[in-house]
Amino acid sequence: MSATAALVAAAALLATGCTSTKSGGAAGEKSASGVQLVSPGTLKTCTHLPYAPFQVKKEGKIVGFDVDLVDLVAKALNVPQEIVNTPFEGIETGQDFTIRKCDLAAAGMTITAKRDKVMDFSDPYFDATQALITKKGGTYKKIEDLKGKKLGYQKATTGAEYAKKHGAGVELVEFEDLGLLLTAVKSGQVDAGINDNGVLFDYVKQNPDTAVTAEFDTGEHYGIGVRTGNDALRKKINEVLKKARSDGSYERIYKKWFGTAPKQG
């Protein structure tokens, strides 16, 4: 019967495309530092584009503050960095680590208790707060000012949680990525948008018809995520971060992307 033959062929095809990911399996190899990579010879970084100035595509390359920092880690491991652009909810829920899509996630991601349950975080590498962006002339100082108006947020972010918590009576609109959210603010589809201050300030610098009208001191810190229990890599990242802060390379990268020196704190 031809059907069975075809099914067998399909199954064989499947088998060739699979690689086992059980620890100690074929995938990954230990380098001298004991770090195991999901695909030997490259450090795979999960991120969600665009998130300027942390991760953004410019002239056919992905660049940014996060990229430069992780490059230091890659250099320490003596492998090149490969960046994978993937929906943020996959990063944030830890699923991308579970299915071995990447070694680490550097996506301007705030360390939260909820996320800490599904991944392990490095030491903080950047301080952030939530901020509101509106078209020039907007006077929204707090979420409550937006009652009856439209506030855009980005799926699966801390800004989304903040908006839902404080946004009683505000019409919330969800966007898949930062680019779409900012386009919606600029084009007036929503009255305001909420996201991390770093990316919003970067945007208003280039788009003078928009302004950041408020910041909510949420005291957030960005961390680099790794798979739960991947201590070898987490320690390596922390080592590299510590060294970067002491030898001036952190400050150099910070100045390159933000134009100012990092706040001492």
Binding site: M1, S2, A3, A6, L7, A9, A10, L13, L14, G17, C18, T19, S20, T21, K22, A27, V38, C46, L49, P50, V56, K57, K58, E59, G60, K61, I62, E82, I83, V84, N85, T86, P87, G90, Q95, D96, T98, I99, R100, K101, C102, D177, L178, G179, T183, Q206, N207
Partner: protein
């Protein structure tokens, strides 16, 4: 004074043209052409997209589509035969599959496969394999129905003649019925190829490295980089570069099939 039928028809058509012309005129007057040009036809932005949008994005779109289509066609044929099988469980299985994958959004299939399979079986699937499966599983459901209709459209006499020549039923299916059915279903299958071309834009859900970007993703990304909608327009035009010739092909094939009858 009653109008003659012909005059009434002419008046009606004239009215339709007038409404259309008025609509175009209103649009032209209302639209802000300066802003539109800047948003959609920024030549400098369009130039910056090349050659990558062809060498990477267009090539990947075609590759993903062909992977999905190839797998879907094979599986679709199997499912079609199962639906026509004498063995009831085969029929039930095929019907269940077709109803399910025809009824859920491709977006959910992509997410379920991209995350579900690796989680359930602890395997890391190659990106291309995942694309092939996700697009193929969705395409197969539609193609199965198309192929089944094609097989049933082959006159019964063909099978009877083949059997009376001493062929087994499987042999008759393979050498007589399926080749003829295939000819009948070529146009609708090409339509399916066009649909899959557009569905390949869902690949972004799986996570892409730079070399794996396809047209829609590339366009969305460039939209953010250049703050202009031009990349979306260019990407859209490039989809047409793929799909318009396919549409031509469908019409040609249909004309040929019509002649052959």
């Amino acid at each position: 004074m009653p109008l003659s039928r012909r005059r009434r028809a002419r008046l009606l058509r004239g009215g339709q043209y007038a409404v259309l012309a008025a609509a175009v005129l209103v649009l032209a007057l209302v639209a802000d052409w300066g802003t539109l040009r800047h948003a959609f036809f920024d030549v400098a932005v369009a130039k910056a997209l090349f050659p990558d949008i062809i060498t990477t994005a267009l090539v990947n779109t075609v590759l993903y589509t062909l992977l999905g289509f190839g797998f879907g066609l094979g599986l679709g044929l199997v499912l079609a035969l199962m639906r026509l099988s004498q063995v009831p469980p085969y029929r039930w299985l095929a019907v269940t599959y077709i109803e399910f994958f025809r009824g859920v959004p491709a977006l959910l299939v992509f997410i379920a496969l991209g995350f579900g399979v690796p989680l359930a079986f602890e395997v890391a699937l190659d990106m291309n394999i995942t694309v092939m499966l996700s697009l193929g599983l969705v395409g197969a459901a539609y193609m199965a129905e198309t192929i089944r209709a094609g097989i049933q459209a082959v006159p019964k006499g063909q099978t009877e003649a083949a059997r009376s020549l001493g062929m087994s039923s499987g042999r008759a299916m393979r050498s007589i019925v399926i080749p003829q059915a295939f000819r009948i279903v070529l146009p609708p299958l090409t339509n399916e190829l066009i649909l899959l071309t557009k569905d390949s834009s869902l690949v972004y859900l799986l996570g892409l490295s730079l070399g794996q970007f396809e047209l829609a993703n590339f366009g969305r990304d460039a939209l953010n980089e250049h703050k202009s909608l031009t990349p979306i327009l260019v990407a859209g035009l490039l989809y047409l570069v793929i799909t318009l010739p396919l549409g031509q092909l469908v019409r040609r094939l249909e004309a040929r099939t019509a002649k052959a009858r």
